[in-house]
Amino acid sequence: MARVVVDVMLKPEILDPQGQAVANALPRLGVNDVASVRIGRRVEIEFAGEADLDRAKEIADKLLANPVIEDYAVRVEA
């Protein structure tokens, strides 16, 4: 078994209401030194055999990310 991680984040210029809501809540927890929060998805793909980065990229392209609003990064996890 080998794990590939795909991090999917909204493109920087796209509004992230989730991150914004969390950032706005922080002062109530007494946290004042955070400039911004962005929230995306972390997808762990467990391959039966070898980790297959190209395959993972293909899956990300087709299923995991919407290229119109999201970017993704793929990496093998140690």
């Binding site: 989730q18 809501a21 969390v22 809540a25 109530r28």
Partner: protein
């Protein structure tokens, strides 16, 4: 009797909860998330909706509202609290109820009229029902799947803390068909379906929901009595 209904930013069924409390004969006090004061209410309803947009996790941000601190303290001292849908999620996030509510197994928001079986009538909010009674009230949520460890679930069963179960098709994949639970003391109840939408045949599938609100009034009236009995005895 005064029932407080809390409004968080993003609360949606707060007007409905207030209407249901009014129909049951209670005086309604609207409470505001940013105001810790409870204005002497005898019971509190945390209504449905999407507090803070339900961003991050449902109820996760609402839990930190100033009013929640007072409610948490009150709940530990026996104040009856009913969390409906988003209110149930907030109660779990605030650890006033065990377990957690997660994304519906089928991944869709689902709104339908749902049959439930009341499993525990011995709570502040369900004493007007008979144990085993079946009722129909609307369910509508996207994250109503109750989860907990097997150990927790066994404990809830053993303690009679499961207040209601889904009958027929489980609308969200909730473990052991759990629709509602209570805390150990029985004053805090969380329910995923919406009793406040079943108080009038004109606008809902039944009037079964009203009993939750009349129950708490009976509970409060009853709670006043034992003290007198003690005095008498």
């Amino acid at each position: 009797m005064r029932i407080g209904v809390v409004t968080f930013p993003g609360s949606l069924d707060d007007g409905d909860a207030a209407r249901a409390a009014r129909y049951s004969g209670a005086e309604v006090v609207r409470l505001w998330h940013a105001d810790p004061e409870l204005y002497g209410v005898d019971a509190v309803v945390l209504p449905g909706g999407f507090s803070y947009g339900d961003y991050l996790r449902c109820g996760a941000i609402a839990r930190f509202a100033p009013v929640m601190e007072t409610i948490a303290k009150g709940a530990r001292d026996g104040l009856p609290v009913l969390g409906i849908c988003n209110g149930f999620q907030i109660l779990c996030e605030a650890h006033l109820l065990p377990g957690a509510l997660t994304r519906n197994q089928h991944l869709h928001f689902r709104n339908r009229d749902q049959k439930l079986r009341i499993e525990a009538a011995a709570t502040a909010w369900t004493n007007g029902f008979d144990s085993g009674q079946e009722i129909v009230i609307p369910v509508k949520n996207g994250e109503g799947c109750f989860v907990g460890s097997e150990e927790l679930l066994d404990r809830l069963e053993a303690n009679g803390q499961i207040v209601a179960r889904y009958v027929g098709e489980n609308p969200n994949g909730s473990m052991r068909d759990i629709a509602a639970i209570r805390n150990e003391a029985g004053n805090v109840v969380g329910i995923m379906p919406h009793p406040e939408h079943a108080i009038d045949l004109l606008t809902g599938p039944s009037v079964d929901g009203l009993t939750f609100f009349t129950s708490v009034l009976a509970h409060l009236a009853g709670a006043a009595q034992p003290v007198e009995e003690e005095v008498a005895a």
